[in-house]
C-alpha cells in the first residue's frame, strides 16, 4: 500500500515537473546562432557571444517579450538542427535563398550586404572565368557563396572550410589565392584587423539573385508560420522605433538594411 502511495506521489511530482518544463519552453525563444562570423557573431574569450546578430536576436526577443536562449551551432549543421528542434529560429546572417526555402521558412530580410572577393594587395587577380581558372578560392561550406562560385566560376578550385575564421587564417598564410564572402564579414572580420593589412577587396560586388537572394533573414520551421509573422512584426518594429539603427551604428558606418 505504502509503495503504491509512493508511486502515485512520484508520478504527480514528475507530471508537475514536466509541466513546469513545458511552460518554461513556451516562454523561451531558443535562437540558433553561430559565433564564428565577426562582426555579426563572435565569441569572447570568456565564452560570451557578441555581435550584430546576437544583439538583433536579443532585441527581437525583447520585442516579443520572450526570454532569449542562445544556442551555438556550427554553420553547416544549422538547418538540420533547426529541423531537429534544437532551437526555434536561426538568427545567424543566413541569406534567404530558394534552395533553403525548400527546407525552412524565412522572415523578411533583416539586412542585405553584397559579397566580394578578397586577395593579397597587388595580386592582379582577375575576377573572370579565365582569371579564376584553377585558382584556389577559399569559402565557408554551406553558404550562398558556395552556390555562387559553383554556378558562376565552376573552373575555380573551391577550398571549403567549416568556419569563416579558418578561411581568413589560410588566406593570411597563403594556402589559398583568394577568399569569397560577405563584404562586411570580410571587412570587419579581416581587412580592418592586423592580419588583413596586406589584403584588399578585388573585383567589386558580386551578386546572383538565385544564389544570394534578397538578403539575410531569420529561419523558422515550415509549420511555424505564427513565429515567422511575429518575427516579421518584430523586425519592422525595431526598424520603426530606432532600436535597429542603434545596434547598426555600433558595428557599421552605414545602414546595412539595404534598399
Amino acid at each position: 500500500m505504502k509503495f503504491r502511495k509512493l508511486i502515485t506521489s512520484l508520478t504527480a511530482a514528475a507530471l508537475m515537473l514536466g509541466m513546469a518544463g513545458l511552460s518554461a519552453q513556451a516562454a523561451d525563444l531558443r535562437v540558433g546562432v553561430e559565433g564564428a562570423y565577426p562582426p555579426f557573431s563572435w565569441k569572447e574569450s570568456d565564452g560570451t557571444l557578441k555581435g550584430f546578430d546576437i544583439e538583433i536576436a536579443e532585441a527581437v526577443c525583447a520585442e516579443l517579450k520572450r526570454k532569449c536562449v542562445l544556442v551555438e551551432q556550427d554553420w553547416d549543421g544549422m538547418i538540420p538542427a533547426l529541423l531537429a528542434r534544437k532551437f526555434d529560429t536561426i538568427i545567424a546572417s543566413m541569406s534567404i535563398t530558394e534552395e533553403r526555402k525548400k527546407r525552412v521558412d524565412f522572415s523578411d530580410k533583416y539586412y542585405n550586404t553584397p559579397a566580394k572577393f578578397v586577395a593579397k594587395k597587388g595580386s592582379g587577380l582577375k575576377i573572370t572565368t579565365a582569371g579564376l581558372k584553377g585558382k584556389r578560392i577559399g569559402l565557408q561550406r554551406g553558404t550562398t557563396h558556395q552556390c555562387f562560385m559553383e554556378k558562376m566560376f565552376p573552373e575555380a578550385e573551391l577550398v571549403l572550410y567549416g568556419t569563416q575564421d579558418e578561411v581568413f587564417q589560410d588566406l593570411t598564410i597563403g594556402r589559398i589565392d583568394a577568399q569569397f564572402s560577405d563584404s562586411i564579414a570580410a571587412d570587419d572580420g579581416f581587412l580592418k584587423t592586423d592580419a588583413g593589412k596586406d589584403f584588399e577587396f578585388t573585383g567589386g560586388d558580386q551578386h546572383d539573385e538565385a544564389c544570394h537572394g534578397p538578403g539575410a533573414g531569420m529561419a523558422v520551421r515550415k509549420a511555424d508560420t505564427k513565429l515567422r509573422d511575429e518575427l516579421n512584426a518584430a523586425i519592422k518594429a525595431l526598424r520603426d522605433n530606432g532600436t535597429y539603427q542603434k545596434i547598426n551604428a555600433k558595428y557599421f558606418d552605414f545602414d546595412i538594411f539595404g534598399g
Partner: protein, 259 residues
C-alpha cells in the same frame, strides 16, 4: 523506362536518391582520397613503427625514453588535435613558412593530414608490436641462441616474423581505426569521403543524403578490409591453429571460410 524510374524515386523515396546518383562520382573520388590517405599513412606509419617497437622492447634506457614519450603523446591526444596542430599550428610560424618544406609539403592540406595520420598510427602500431615482441616464446629464442644466431639475426629471422604474425589480429583493428580516423581530413578542407558528404549537405542542405551515402561506402570498405584480414590470418597464423584444422583443407572457393 529510365525516366519513369527517376520520376518514381523523386516522388516516393524518403531520401533524394536521384541527387545521390548525380553526385556519385564525387563520392567515389572522395572514397579514393580516403583510401589513398589511409593506405599511405599505414605504410609510412608501419615502417616507422618497426624500429620504434624494437627500441621499446629493448633495454636501452637512453633510446627508450624519447620513443616512450612519442608514443605516449600521440596515443594520449586526439587525432583531431594533432591534425589541427600540424595544419593550422605550424602555419602560424613565419620561419616555418620560409623553409623549403612549406611550399611542397606543409602548405598542402593533404600532406599535413598524411603526417598527422602516419605519426599517430606509428605510435599505436609501435606499442602493439612491442607487446608482440616481448611475448615471443622463450623457447624459440633459446633455440635460436643454441643454433648460434647473433642478436640481430635472432630479431630478423625469429622474433620479428613471429611477432608480426601474432600482432595481425590486433593490427586489423588499428587499420579500421585509421580508416575511421581519416574523416579528420575533411576538417582541414580535404574532400575525402566525409568531405563529399559535408559538401552535399552544404550545397543542398540535405544531411541524410550525404552522410548516409558516405556511411554506406565506409561500411563497404571496412567489410572488405576485415575480410581481407581474415584470409591473411588464416594464411599466416595457420601454425597456431589446432593441427587437424590445418589438415582438413578447405573445399574449393572461399565458401568454407568463416567470415
Amino acid at each position: 523506362m529510365a525516366e519513369s524510374i527517376v520520376k518514381f524515386l523523386e516522388t516516393w523515396s524518403p531520401i533524394d536518391i536521384v541527387l545521390i546518383a548525380q553526385n556519385f562520382d564525387r563520392f567515389l573520388w572522395g572514397a579514393l582520397t580516403t583510401l589513398e590517405l589511409t593506405i599511405i599513412s599505414l605504410l609510412v606509419g608501419g615502417i616507422l613503427s618497426i624500429p620504434l617497437a624494437i627500441i621499446r622492447a629493448g633495454n636501452n634506457k637512453i633510446l627508450n625514453a624519447p620513443v616512450w614519450l612519442f608514443t605516449y603523446v600521440f596515443r594520449g591526444t586526439p587525432l583531431l588535435v594533432q591534425t589541427y596542430l600540424i595544419y593550422y599550428g605550424l602555419g602560424q610560424f613565419e620561419w616555418i613558412r620560409e623553409t623549403f618544406l612549406w611550399g611542397p609539403v606543409l602548405s598542402q592540406a593533404w600532406y599535413c593530414a598524411l603526417i598527422a595520420f602516419s605519426l599517430n598510427t606509428a605510435a599505436y602500431t609501435a606499442e602493439l608490436l612491442r607487446g608482440s615482441i616481448v611475448n615471443t616464446s622463450r623457447g624459440e629464442i633459446e633455440a635460436a641462441k643454441a643454433c648460434g644466431f647473433s642478436r640481430a639475426m635472432r630479431m630478423r629471422r625469429i622474433v620479428l616474423p613471429s611477432a608480426f604474425r601474432r600482432a595481425l589480429p590486433a593490427y586489423s583493428n588499428e587499420v579500421i581505426f585509421m580508416l575511421h580516423g581519416s574523416v579528420v581530413a575533411s576538417t582541414i578542407t580535404i574532400q575525402d569521403l566525409l568531405g563529399v558528404g559535408r559538401w552535399l549537405n552544404g550545397r543542398y542542405y540535405l544531411a541524410y543524403e550525404g552522410f548516409i551515402t558516405a556511411a554506406v561506402l565506409y561500411f563497404i570498405i571496412v567489410l572488405l578490409v576485415s575480410r581481407g584480414f581474415r584470409l591473411w590470418e588464416k594464411h599466416w597464423l595457420a601454425h597456431l591453429y589446432p593441427q587437424d584444422a590445418v589438415k582438413t583443407k578447405p573445399k574449393k572457393g572461399l565458401a568454407s571460410f568463416r567470415i
